[in-house]
Each structure stands twice: as C-alpha cells, then as structure tokens.
C-alpha cells in the first residue's frame, strides 16, 4: 500500500515537472521544439535515475504529447502535418525510454552491489562470532542470534542433524521442524516467497549436517549458501574443540594415574630393596637346607613383586600415552644381539637359529624399548615351549618396514585365544597354573610397538608352535627403491 502511494506521488511530481517545463517554454521563455525536447529528455533522465522505470515512462509519454500539442505545428492540435516531425517525436520517445532504462539499470546495479557488500560484511561479522564459540550448544545459539542481528531478519532457526536438536530465535514458528528435517534429508533448499521463508541445507565436505531456515529473508541465494557453509564450519569447529577437550581430559586422568603409580612404584620398591638386600646377604652365607629354602622363597617372591610393580607401571605409562620412544637409527641385528646376551642364562641349552639378511636396512626405533619387546617374545618362547626345543629369530624387509619374528616349537596357541593374548591381564588357559606371570608382557610389547607406529601379531597352529612378529619402520634413506 505504502509503495503504491509512493509511486503515485512520484508520478504526480514527474507530471508536474513535465508540465512546468512545457509551461516555461510556452509562456515565459519561448524556444524552438528541439530545445524543449532536449530539456524534457534531461528531466526524464533525472526522474529515471532517481525513481525508476514507471515514473520515467509516464513522464516520457506525457512529455511527447505536450511537445506535440504545444510546439509541433499545427500547434494546439495532437495531429502532425509534416512527416519529418513524426520522425522527431518518435526519436524523442525512443531516446527518453532507452535513456530511462539505462539509467534505471545502472541504479539497480549500484543497489545490488551495495547489498552484496553488506552481505559480505555481515557474513564476516557472523564468521567472527562463530570463531568465539567453543561449545556446540552455545555455538548454535550464537549462530541463530547473530544471524538475526547481523542480517536484520525477523527470525532464524537452525537444525543440527547430528545431535537432532533445533535452535529457534524467540517466538517464531513459521518454519516447522518437519520442513527443516526434510531439507536436511534431501539436501535441496526450499523457498516460500508467500511466507517470506527459505530453508537451506548445511553441508560440510559433501555431507549434510543440518539445515538453516530464515524468515523475512532478503538474502540472495549465494549469500544464503555462503551463510550455510559458514554455519557448517562453525558447528564443526565447535564440535572438534569439544571432542579434543574431552580426549584431553581423558588423557590427563591417565597421566595422573601414571604419576600416582610412579610414586606408588617408588614407595613399593624401597621396602623391596631392603628386603632383597637383607635376604640376598643372608643367602650368600653357608646355610642349613631349611634356612636356604625359606630364604630362597623370600628372595624369589621379592623378585616377583618387583616384576609386578614394574609391569603395572609400564602399562599405566602406555595407557597415559606417556611412552615416548627415543627413536634413532639402530640395526635390528644389534638389538637382537644385546637381547640374546642379556638372556644368556635363560637360553642355556637352546638352539637358536638366526635368519638375518645382510642387506637389512637400519630401523628407526628406540633401542631399549624394542629390546624389551624382543625380550618379552623370547621369554614367552622360552616359557611356553619344551626346554630343549629350538627357537628361530628372523628379520626381513617388507615394504618400508622391518618385520622381526620369534618362532618357537611349542604347543601353539588355540585360535580363539590368539586375538586375546595381547589384551591386558589375559593369560592363556593352559598355562595360568604352570607359568608365573602377570598377563601384561604382551600388552606392553604391543603398546611399545604401536608407539613406534608399528604393529605386532601372532600366527600359530596348535601343536606346531607360535610365531610372534612385529613390524617397525625402517630408516627411509636406507631403503633401496
């Protein structure tokens, strides 16, 4: 209604302007028809530039009629005698209309570019708001509020498909939950010009994560899509931060646990040191059989308690990701040799076959940690195979990794247990009573190998022995490609 009135008033003003020009040239400043026509074209251009197409067309037609009636002979009549004047009048009308159109178009371009600039500024402002939110819920609420504020629209609603939640600006119900859900599912934007609503899907990396609805929107579709993308990034960012915080909190609690266990280990080992020192001192002197037996038991149990403390602590470190291998260039052969030397006593009477290719490149590993893994595999091979059965240690290059295998000729591991033996505290059914252990050794070995970015596995068939293998990265520069 308002608009119509405005246009009507402008048309009246335009007509008055045309009338005034005609009147001035007719009664006050007599001039020829060319001057009048040029002045009228100027006025019409001004009207077009200022107001628009309708006003300038009306002014053109009325101006042409005035020119014809008052200035083109026969004056005082709407008829034209000279065909030349027909051409002049037609030229006037075409010029006026074309000029109006060009002027209107230029004005519209300007208005459009101002609107685009405004949209970009608003998107930027929104982007800044999004960067400040660090939690998914406040981020969604912030998004809705700041869309209304920065884009000056009457309502907005956000649907997060991942959490299934809706965030509406206050008191607006023009867009239903179902509509939002549908857009999120189909991924197709919907616009209702009658209700002045539009809904766009929110996408990130080709996946729809929700939808965003506007009420009273004056946004271009490009701006709507940019906005939806911005919102998608904002929500994803908030979600990532939240997840990272949770993971960090979980890790922190593991770190705390490891620190506590560290302190506990120290407190347990200190009395063990006094016990072990005292008992071994007594054991070193000539004893009666009974005393010797009892002291030996005390000594062995002190060792066992110590082993338990060490393994539990190591497991806690692995779980707290506090195991930091000090990786350097080492030859697997050196690590195997050092481990075999340290195990000399336990390996007595065993035949050990070594299969190491000469061309094996160095590995990028922590010497001590990988030595520990080898020791664990050797311990297992010794404990779980007959005393005189031979062992085989081999290594070979597989792609960019060095695979080390320790094979025994023991009873093997039942298929259903093979996946469990790397679990914490798991102990093979057949051996629980026969071999002392904590069930931590292999899970520690697994943790160490994985901290090197490698993997550990077992292949075994009952009755045919077990082959434990682990793969660790080779030094890249030594790989012959």
């Amino acid at each position: 209604m308002n608009r119509l009135w405005q246009t009507a008033i402008r048309i009246v003003v335009s007509l008055a302007l045309v009338g005034a020009i005609v009147f001035v040239y007719k009664s006050i400043l007599p001039a020829n028809s060319v001057t009048v026509a040029l002045t009228l074209v100027l006025a019409i251009l001004w009207i077009a530039a200022r107001w628009g197409y309708a006003e300038s067309i009306v002014a053109s037609v009325v101006g042409m009629l005035g020119l014809d009636y008052f200035f083109i002979p026969p004056v005082g009549q709407l008829t034209i005698s000279d065909p030349e004047n027909w051409a002049a009048l037609a030229a006037f009308l075409v010029t006026a209309v074309t000029a109006s159109e060009l002027s209107v178009r230029a004005r519209r371009r300007e208005a459009e570019s101002i609107a685009r600039r405004q949209e970009v500024e608003r998107l930027y402002a929104l982007g800044q708001t999004l960067l400040l939110s660090s939690n998914v819920h406040t981020a969604a609420r912030d998004i809705v509020n700041s869309i209304i504020r920065t884009f000056e629209i009457s309502g907005a609603v956000l649907f997060n498909q991942v959490t299934g939640e809706f965030y509406r600006s206050e008191g607006h119900t023009k867009i239903s939950d179902d509509q939002l859900r549908r857009v999120a599912e189909t991924g197709e934007p919907v616009t209702d010009s009658g209700l002045q609503t539009s809904i766009v899907p929110i996408r990130l990396g080709g996946q729809t994560t929700g939808s965003l609805g506007f009420v009273g929107s004056t946004l271009s579709s490009a701006a709507r899509n940019a906005l939806a993308h911005l919102v998608a990034i904002g929500i994803e960012r908030a979600r990532t931060i939240e997840e990272t915080n949770q993971a960090e909190a979980a890790r922190q609690s593991e770190v705390l646990k490891a620190t506590l266990l560290d302190a506990l280990a120290h407190d347990l080992k200190t009395p063990l040191t006094s016990i072990k020192g005292a008992v071994t001192h007594l054991l070193a002197k000539p004893r009666e059989a009974e005393e010797l037996e009892l002291l030996t038991i005390a000594n062995e149990e002190a060792d066992r308690l110590n082993r338990l403390v060490v393994e539990v602590l190591e497991m806690a470190r692995i779980e707290a990701s506090k195991l930091h291998p000090d990786r350097a260039r080492h030859h697997i052969a050196d690590i195997i040799q050092a481990t075999l030397k340290a195990q000399e006593e336990a390996l007595q009477g065993r035949t050990i076959q070594l299969r190491l290719p000469d061309s094996l490149p160095a590995a990028e590993v922590d010497f001590e940690f990988i030595g520990q893994v080898l020791k664990q595999l050797l311990d297992n091979a010794i404990n779980y195979s007959p005393p005189n059965a031979p062992l085989t240690i081999s290594a070979h290059l597989e792609g960019e990794r060095i695979v080390v295998t320790v094979a025994d000729e023991g009873k093997g591991i039942p298929v259903d247990e093979q996946s469990k033996i790397f679990d914490k505290y798991y102990r093979g059914r057949a051996w629980r009573e026969k071999v002392l252990g904590t069930g931590l050794g292999l899970s520690i070995a697994k943790g160490i190998v994985e901290a090197h970015g490698g993997k550990i596995w077992v292949t075994s068939a009952p009755g045919k022995g077990s082959m434990f293998s682990f793969a660790v990265p080779a030094v890249k520069s030594e790989l012959v490609l």
Binding site: T270, A278, H281, N299, Q337
Partner: protein, 230 residues
Amino acid sequence: MSAKILVVDDEPQIRRMMRATLTSSGYQVDEAKTGEEALEKLRAYQPDLILLDLNMPGMGGLEACRFMRDGSDVPIIILTVRNAEKEKVEALDAGADDYVSKPFGMQELLARIRAALRRMPGAEGGPRGFTSRDLQIDFESRRVMVRDQSVRLTPKEFELLRHLVAHGGKPVPHRELLQAVWGPDYGNETDYLRVFINHLRKKIEPDPARPKYILTEPWVGYRFALPEEP
C-alpha cells in the same frame, strides 16, 4: 685397612640394611641422608666409594653427583628405583661410574663395589698417544684435542678410548672392553658401552652419526680405525 663407603639415601631402612650388610662384608660405612650432607661427608669422611640414591628430597642424586665430580675422582655407584635407559644415561653423563637398579641382590652390588674400588692400572705399555689431522690424544697427560679444541673426557671414557686405540685397527669384543674398563665381573652391560661410545663419538668424531674413528663391528664389538697412510 678396609675401604670406606658412604651410603647416601633418604630412606632409613635402606641405610640400616646397607650398613649391616656392608659392615658384615668387611667395609667401613658412613651414611648421609641428603645430597648436601653427602657433599660435606665427602670432604670430612674421605670415602673410597659412594653409593648414591638418585631420588632424594632437596638436592637430588644427579646434582650431587655433578658436584662431587667437580673436585673428586671417587668412584660413584648410582642406586635407584628407576631403571629407564634415559635415567641411566643421565647418571653416567653426570659422572657416575656404574648404575644399579633397586631392588638388587647383595652379591651383585658387592661385585660392583669391588670392581669400582679396583684402581685402573696407569698408562703402562700401550701407545703413548695418537695423532691425526683433526684428532690428537696424549695418554700420559690425559689430554684430547679435537680440531685444536681441548675436549674433556671422564675417566671411563678415557679408559675406553685408550683400550680401543691400543688395539687400533682391530675389533675389540664387547666383553673385553667392559672387563678392561669396568672390571672382570662385567661382560653383559653392552648398554654401558653404547652410552660411552656415543659420548666418545659426540666428543671426538667430526660427524657422530657417521663415525670415522670409532666404528661398530656388528655382533663383535668396536674398532678404532687408523687412518689410511697417505
């Protein structure tokens, strides 16, 4: 006259146990509860050997060890509940001669004490020195120059280098090196050799990652490479 041992530990039960066992094994024993007290006792008591705990309130064992090394050649054996390689390297770096992790068997500790008390024979026999373009070693004055810069070696590093140079060009097995430098009860502590060889390489090699003097002989030991005659 029996050797004097200073036991440095903040745990009273451990000091009691050590005093009883060491005294019974024929040593004289004194105790210190902290690193600071140990430094005082080092001057006042003049021990022949120090057993040093790492984890003590106040001045820790590592710091105490460094202070002791500043003015004394007394053998130091570190006793600690931690047995990570990193801690071992730190302790050896700080100037300790040996490293025993708690809990330990008394026979093992006594063997280490005997080895540490056994004084290295002086520079009798063997080469007087070694000279090349970027490395000069003088065994008598115990001076090592690398590219005209004086380099300080710990006694164990120096012994290790001397033994390698004495067998210049020939591989020296791990066990032989360990027994020559630490003592007859050693032989399996290849990690000691690794630590000390690494130290030596860092100190004397132009490029420690690609050594040209101290070479690893896989499976055997180490070899001091004599430069090719020009």
